[in-house]
């Protein structure tokens, strides 16, 4: 495998809340190699979103260390894209302007950014909604705007927090194929959080399974199904065997996110 891009060692996060301290992560180890598609799978509330915020430089861990390309993460970086679990759109800006947000804040070329934004809106099936406001879109459509926004500045590392959770089955399948295509074409590295086992198996090179809160790595599984994977892949015996294997691992970890 190629060199390590992201490395978390003994990562721990403790939130101070009104009802005392909450340990969200404890002693989490994980690596992401350059160009790899890594999924993080774990039960609800085990600290997956927390992990993503640390990787994005939005949150400092209380314990352990995390490095990006060998250097400790000290804050958000322009070459990292993020798709949040909630769509998190600006209600006073149009769909297109929402997608263009990183282009503005990162002072990128606006003309190229605009062309790219329109291309991405087409990809997520929202080209006719470019001038609509978020309040006029359904939850699933808003989430797709968030996905387009995460990709618009062409980040080399993409962090995605359950991006397809709010989508209907048809759209989800389409988006999975598109994401694979983008990833294969552009040589991006992706950390993909999901609660769907088939989704993780379909998309990933490797899956990290976290325990219930506080999250720790309990399984680190390479998926060596050949690429490009297609709809037919999901019917194959090996695909299903891997899914079942993971499912049995989860029978102990009760509720899912």
């Amino acid at each position: 495998m190629s060199e390590i891009l992201l490395r978390a060692q003994g990562l721990g996060v403790t939130y101070a809340s009104a009802r005392g301290e909450v340990k969200a992560l404890e002693g989490l180890d994980a690596v992401l190699h350059q160009g790899e598609f890594l999924s993080v799978l774990g039960p609800s509330g085990c600290g997956k979103s927390t992990l993503l915020k640390i990787a994005a430089g939005l949150l400092n861990p209380s314990a352990g260390r995390i490095t990006l390309a060998g250097k400790p993460i000290s804050g958000p970086r322009p070459d990292v894209g993020i798709v949040f679990q909630q769509p998190t759109l600006l209600p006073w800006q149009s769909t297109l302007d929402n997608v263009l947000l990183p282009i503005r804040t990162l002072r990128r070329d606006r003309v190229r950014g605009r062309a790219r934004a329109l291309e991405l809106l087409q990809l997520v099936g929202l080209e006719t909604f470019a001038n609509h406001y978020p309040g006029e879109l359904s939850g699933g459509m808003q989430q797709r705007v968030g996905i387009a926004r995460g990709l618009v500045h062409d980040p080399t590392l993409l962090l995605m927090d359950e991006p397809f959770a709010a989508l209907d089955a048809m759209t989800r399948e389409h988006m999975m194929l598109e994401l694979q295509r983008i990833w294969m074409a552009a040589g991006k590295s992706i950390v993909f959080i999901t609660h769907s086992i088939p989704e993780a198996v379909f998309l990933s090179d490797r899956i990290v399974v976290l325990s219930a809160r506080p999250g720790r790595t309990i399984r680190d599984l390479a998926i060596d199904l050949p690429r490009p994977r297609t709809v037919a892949t999901m019917g194959e015996a090996r695909f299903n065997a891997i899914c079942n294997d993971l499912r049995s691992l989860f029978t102990e970890l009760v509720h899912f996110d």
Binding site: K53, A56, G57, L58, P76, R77, P78, V80, I82, F84, Q86, T88, L90, P91, W92, L101, P102, R104, T105, L106, Y133, P134, G135, H153
Partner: protein, 262 residues
């Protein structure tokens, strides 16, 4: 009748009934004109005032002190509110005094303001600005502080500057609160203007009421009160319209800003 027509006709019915009760009560109970004027006396007074032109200088004086004081007080409050919400240092420096001043009835300062700023327009503008300041200031600070933390995370993740976050995220997020503050300030500002005119003035609708009271000209007092209401209602309507247009994404607050005065 459709909802729209009802919204216009029903209040007119109420008005008509009230006027009828007014006219009849005055005739039946033989209320003298210097206690309660007949509606026609009030109308006559309004006609004299605005057609012959005696009221205009009072109306325009109050309007002028209102508009200038409102603009001054609200814009200062907005700017200081931003500084206060953005900087812990500014907050620490001023917080106790803001609390102390907020709980003081500002109209009690009117005589002092007359002493400092004179009998003319300046003192009225200062008074209006002072009473407008606090509702606007508090609402700005609360609005800015209520910005959705997820939106802040989003902006940080995409390396936005502090200035961009304030302009693009926090101020639009606070817009609903800011307009509620503007709405309250209209009502309070008008109170401030009238109180300052009561204390000492040579012009203004408040002065007109005071002067008419000396001669028991209740019809003039009623006419001035109606003029003040028109000012207040017109101001509120303008703010409400701007609110609905500017904060178009927030249908909730735009229709819901009822004035909760101090």
């Amino acid at each position: 009748m459709n909802e729209r027509a009802k919204a216009i006709v029903y209040p007119l019915v109420t008005l008509f009934v009230l006027l009828a009760v007014w006219v009849v009560a005055i005739r039946v109970f033989k209320v003298p004109n210097f206690i309660v004027p007949a509606p026609e006396a009030v109308v006559a007074s309004l006609r004299r005032g605005y057609v012959d032109g005696l009221f205009w200088k009072h109306f325009l004086f109050t309007l002028q002190s209102m508009v200038s004081g409102y603009a001054l007080g609200c814009s200062l409050a907005f700017l200081l509110g931003c500084a206060f919400a953005e900087s812990k240092t500014v907050e620490r420096l001023f917080y106790p005094y803001v609390v102390a001043l907020q709980s003081m009835p500002k109209v009690a300062l009117a005589p002092l303001i007359i002493v400092w700023f004179g009998f003319e327009l300046a003192s009225k503008v200062v008074m209006v600005a002072l009473v407008c300041f606090f509702p606007m200031f508090i609402n700005t600070v609360v609005g800015l502080r209520q910005t959705n933390p997820a939106l802040l995370d989003l902006m940080h993740a995409f390396s936005a500057s502090r200035w961009e976050i304030l302009l693009r995220i926090k101020i639009p997020s606070a817009a609903g609160h800011v307009f509620a503050g503007l709405q309250i300030a209209i009502v309070l500002g008008l109170i401030g203007a009238v109180v300052a005119e009561f204390v000492s003035s040579t012009r203004g609708l408040g002065h007109l009421i005071n002067a008419a009271a000396v001669n028991l000209e209740t019809d003039v007092m009623f006419a001035a009160l109606i003029s003040l209401s028109v000012l207040g209602v017109a101001g509120s309507l303008v703010i409400r319209m701007l609110h609905a247009r500017i904060v178009f994404w927030d249908k909730g607050t735009a229709t819901r800003t009822e004035t909760a005065a101090e």
